[in-house]
């Protein structure tokens, strides 16, 4: 059964991956037959979703609970939500180019998910509730729609900057893209080290407990005040170069911080190599993919993504969250960091909607806000789990 589950996961990955490639081919191809290839790309994407559902079902059968209980499961589900939201929006707008950006993002997300421990963990008492999947899935579906809005906004920016109309924004757009390369770089590095079975571990004190911190990437940074237990050598590098500051208190904060550093380093290396080979900005590389699009339509797709996501997010991340929090912790709202950031996300998108609908912020401003909203979601997903220990201590 576990083998089936793992194969379904690999299958999902492969289907998303191939779908992404076909979407990119369609976007670059101008000939008539691209219509047919476009259909193939969508079909592959939908097949990926079906296999993904199969993966989740087998995981439910094995683990006895819905797979949204740790970091791997949540990010994998976020990837699922992204693809589902894309398919819904594709059904309305039939934009293949959108797929050429969304599907690669889905692939990176799934790869990023796979970096976290994949074993099925038994549910601690606080998570034993139907709300685990009702709350988490609804919130994630909303975030998936926001992510599609982000992608459409990004394409809009690439279009406007690439066409030379908005040169002032070029620097910031390029920076945004480089951050995405860092994600990619981190996922690739982690998966490579995982494949080769890299191991390192440290012991340190947290309050009165002796904690063993496991690393799957060579330690650039060690836990605060720690002793190395074992550190495999990587190209002669034995590390660590320095220790985490003492205020990083999240669970596994040190190894996560180490991962972030790796992401930045690998991302910058990848970007440097890219710049050496192709002497163009990333957005200039991507511009040919999008230059035939109608910017007004992109703007509307981005808004539509948020319009679809906002009610879902409100329901999942606020209302259902409050109902569950009231049942599990005895209060509907407690300003736990994760809760606060869900609130911030919601307030941000509320501001977006009012700016757009009432102040007429469309086009560039709206696109940047869509990007900003996704950044907040990522902050909530990564930084909050890294730096702060809260009640939502996934993984």
């Amino acid at each position: 059964m576990t083998t089936i589950m793992n194969n379904l996961l690999y299958g999902t990955f492969i289907f998303y991956f191939v779908s992404a490639i076909v979407f990119i081919v369609v976007a670059t191809n101008t000939k008539k037959r691209s219509q047919r290839w476009g259909k193939i790309a969508v079909t592959l994407g939908i097949a990926g979703v079906v296999i993904h559902i199969g993966f989740m079902i087998t995981r439910i059968v094995i683990g006895g609970h819905f797979p949204t209980s740790n970091m791997f499961e949540f990010i994998a589900f976020l990837c699922f939500a992204l693809v589902v939201a894309f398919i819904v929006i594709f059904a309305i707008y039939r934009s293949y180019v959108l797929g050429a950006f969304v599907m690669p993002l889905a692939v990176v997300l799934l790869a990023y998910a796979a970096v976290f421990p994949r074993d099925i963990q038994p549910l601690i008492p606080a998570l034993q509730s139907h709300w685990l999947y009702i709350h988490v899935t609804t919130a994630a579906l909303g975030q998936g729609a926001f992510a599609v809005a982000f992608v459409a906004g990004l394409i809009y920016l690439i279009y406007q900057v690439g066409s030379g109309a908005k040169q002032k924004h070029a620097k910031y757009l390029e920076m945004t893209l480089v951050v995405m390369v860092m994600f990619l770089g981190f996922s690739i590095a982690s998966l490579l080290f995982q494949t080769f079975g890299y191991q390192a571990s440290f012991t340190h004190q947290i309050e009165d407990n002796q904690i063993v911190e496991e690393y799957h990437l060579p330690p650039i940074v060690a836990p605060n005040d720690s002793k190395a237990v074992e550190v495999s050598s990587f190209l002669g590098f034995k590390g660590p170069l320095f220790e985490t500051p003492s205020w990083m208190k999240g669970e596994h904060a040190a190894s996560k911080f180490n991962s972030v550093i790796w992401g930045i380093v690998v991302g910058l290396i990848l970007y440097a190599i890219y710049r050496l080979i192709i002497r163009k900005n990333l957005y200039q590389l991507l511009y040919p993919l999008v230059k035939k699009l109608d910017p007004e339509l992109l703007d509307e797709i981005s808004y539509r993504g948020i319009a679809i996501g906002y009610p879902l997010f409100t329901l999942g991340a606020l209302i259902f969250a409050m109902i569950w929090a009231n049942e599990a912790w005895g209060r509907p709202w407690g300003w736990d960091p994760k809760e606060t950031w869900a609130f911030i996300t919601w307030m941000f998108y509320s501001a977006y909607l009012h700016l757009r609908l009432s102040r007429g912020w469309v086009g560039m401003k709206s696109a940047w806000l869509a990007v900003g909203g996704f950044v907040i979601i990522m902050v909530n997903l990564i930084v909050i789990n890294l730096v702060i220990s809260g009640l939502h201590s996934y993984a």
Binding site: P122, P125, R304, M322, A351
Partner: protein, 520 residues
Amino acid sequence: MIENTKCECGHNNPIGTVLCEHCGRPLDEGYSNEKLDKEMRYEGKARRSLTYQSSIIDQVWNFFSSVKIAIVLIVITLIMSGIGTIFPQEQFIPSSSPNTYYEQTYGTLGKWFYQLGFSDMYSTWWFATMMSMIGISLVVCSLDRVIPLYRALKNQKVTKSTVFIERQRISVQQAVSEGENTNQIDELAEKLSSKRYHVRKEKDALLAEKGRFSRWGPYINHIGLIIFLVGILLRYLPGWNLDDYVWVQEGQTVRVPQTQYYVKNEGSTVEYYKETEKSQKGPVVRKYRTKAVLYEKNGSGKLIPVTQKSILVNDPLDYQGLKLYQSDFRAGDLTGLNLSIMDRKTNQNLGVFSVDLSNITSSQIYKVGNLQVKIKDYYPDFAIENNVPVTKSQDPNRPAFLFETMEKNQPKGENSLVISGMDFPNPETNKYNIQLAGFDMVNTAGLMVRIEKSLYIYLFGGIVSMFGLVMGFYWQHRRVWVRIVDGKLYMGAHTNKNWFALRRELSQIGFSHLVKETEK
């Protein structure tokens, strides 16, 4: 502001009107298309905030009716909330003295964080002020807009000025042959009806409309939010909100703080996942369970059981809004000691007696065979300071006793000191030796005690909000105006969002050139 509000069509409009209420003609030809597009949101009606600006009430009203102000309030609140998460809030820190904790742990930044009030920001007056201002803004913004909008949409005229139709974002003009007028209108009316538009016709003009209710979505959402905020305000009424905590040992009955109820713990257990019991990382808890009975004290001071439940995490006891949550669990609290008495000469065990730590009095006499034992002194947390025995706390961490053992009919007995975990040398002259024979241990449940009477108000507000959001975001209000004047057909269309879909819809009824090349 426009001085002359009388339209060419002869209609007298209230001051502040942008588009004539009757025919839709812009009252000032100089308005740009963007301005008109924006005004279509409220149908170009006069809004109170744009009409009256003199008195203080007007100015306050105008301040809160501004969406710009609302957005500023939202942005300030979200930035403050973000700052509040840089370091943990006071309720999450492992220390009871935040005034020193933040500086010690986080340095200067931590000190500022504490001094500026961010360490407990969600209950500060300024955060509450921000939330109230957002609440007021919600009410005023909504009223300022929804009333004129409602009036405008209720009294829509079918025949609109051609200027109004021409200046819509989607607009088409076609030549129509003589005498075809009625046919054209009828044909379009039928096609629009088949697209589920609600069509009204007049001579040479039609108005097709659908999804008008979606225009009320934002306002219904705002009503929901207001109800929710009122729920938060009501929490401050006496008796509406209770947040307390109680530890109950197995077998104990204790008063539920701040209520007239008592709770008895009939057993607290912890269960582990079998498969994890031998794992390296230690066992994973499957269930914390407390069997609790809730009592109410009646007039004569007797405890009457009112309800009972096996409390689990995620499954609290709920009695008329009073809720008890399984929140903490402590295993192996010491409640009693078993002691045995030995005859020192013969080394014979003379018997065992048990001491209940929660009930120790100097008059209590423990009988063992022919012997009587009295507790002369009890140190729950024994230590020696300056050669004097003391107790460090009232928790039985290291209980010690000074016993007096008396033989029958003897007025005076011998003293012996017994310290748990230590073999204390009592005088050689003692005939008897008292030794620890065992512990009585129980589990203790930490129960959170909560009353939150606003819950149903929150829930109701949330449901109303969701209705509004779904109405507003998953439907849209589309309108099509057609008018034929002097052999020319004017068609204009407006939607509050999703223009792409409206263009596609119109292309399907014969205006195919409305769909741009890239969208096909």
